[in-house]
């Protein structure tokens, strides 16, 4: 079980698409930095085919720094302590950038 972090918007690089293509059951997705833009409602379609076992998170500091509200409710907002906890809970952390 792997924690995947993505720090790019869906359009500025292929990081998110590559990540989504390699997700396995039980993995988790964490949007950080510019990656949080992927949680805007307009991109919700990208995440509709994820296995139900994949948990989705975003770093709240990064979404509020960008003034983003009313984000995709499938993403749970966490802080850096939460990021550290997820890093421990999953066996590996893979960073897509």
């Amino acid at each position: 079980m792997t924690l995947h972090t993505i720090n790019k918007t869906p359009t500025e690089s292929s990081a998110l698409n590559n990540c989504l293509a390699s997700l396995s059951d039980g993995d988790a997705l964490l949007l950080i930095e510019n990656g949080v833009y992927a949680a805007m409602p307009g991109y919700a379609e990208l995440f509709t085919r994820l296995p139900a076992s994949v948990q989705c998170y975003l770093l709240g500091e990064d979404s509020s720094a960008r003034g983003l509200n009313d984000l995709n409710p499938d993403f749970r907002s966490i802080d850096y302590d939460g990021f550290v906890e997820l890093s421990c809970r999953y066996n590996k952390v893979v960073s897509w950038f």
Binding site: N7, E61, V84, V93
Partner: protein
């Protein structure tokens, strides 16, 4: 748990260095162990003593240095990535006949073997990419 961190972003060019710094502070607060922080590619600029950001902005190189002093962290800068980008310690400045050097202590220059060793020793390796 034992963590190692890889930083490949220069300060002020991307958010990578800032994110890595915040993540490391959280790790230490939650009483995890940081085995090594490895600065690679453009991440080597985090180690420059000569960075002078405006006073109302975070001074990322000095924040790293302070954190390392406080918690006795091993902060390794990839030597090949550093010298080609003009980040030198006194020894390398002498070797390449340069009349100045700019590596902030306690950063040290070393090789990729240190990253491999960090991967072997640590429970988790977390990369902050540019």
């Amino acid at each position: 748990m034992i963590f190692s961190i890889v930083v490949t972003g220069a300060p002020y060019s991307s958010q990578a260095a800032d994110s890595a710094l915040r993540y490391c502070k959280s790790l230490l607060k939650l009483e995890h162990q940081i085995h090594r922080i490895f600065f690679y590619a453009d991440g080597v600029h985090n180690a420059s003593e000569l960075a002078v950001p405006p006073q109302d902005e975070t001074n990322i190189p000095s924040e790293w240095a302070q954190l390392a002093e406080q918690h006795k962290l091993d902060m390794v800068v990839c030597i090949a990535a550093a010298v080609r980008r003009g980040v030198l310690d006194e020894n390398e400045a002498g070797r390449y006949e340069k009349n100045s050097h700019n590596l902030t202590p306690p950063f040290v220059l070393s090789g990729l073997g240190q990253l491999v060793e960090a991967g072997i020793v640590s429970d988790r390796v977390v990369t902050f990419g540019a």
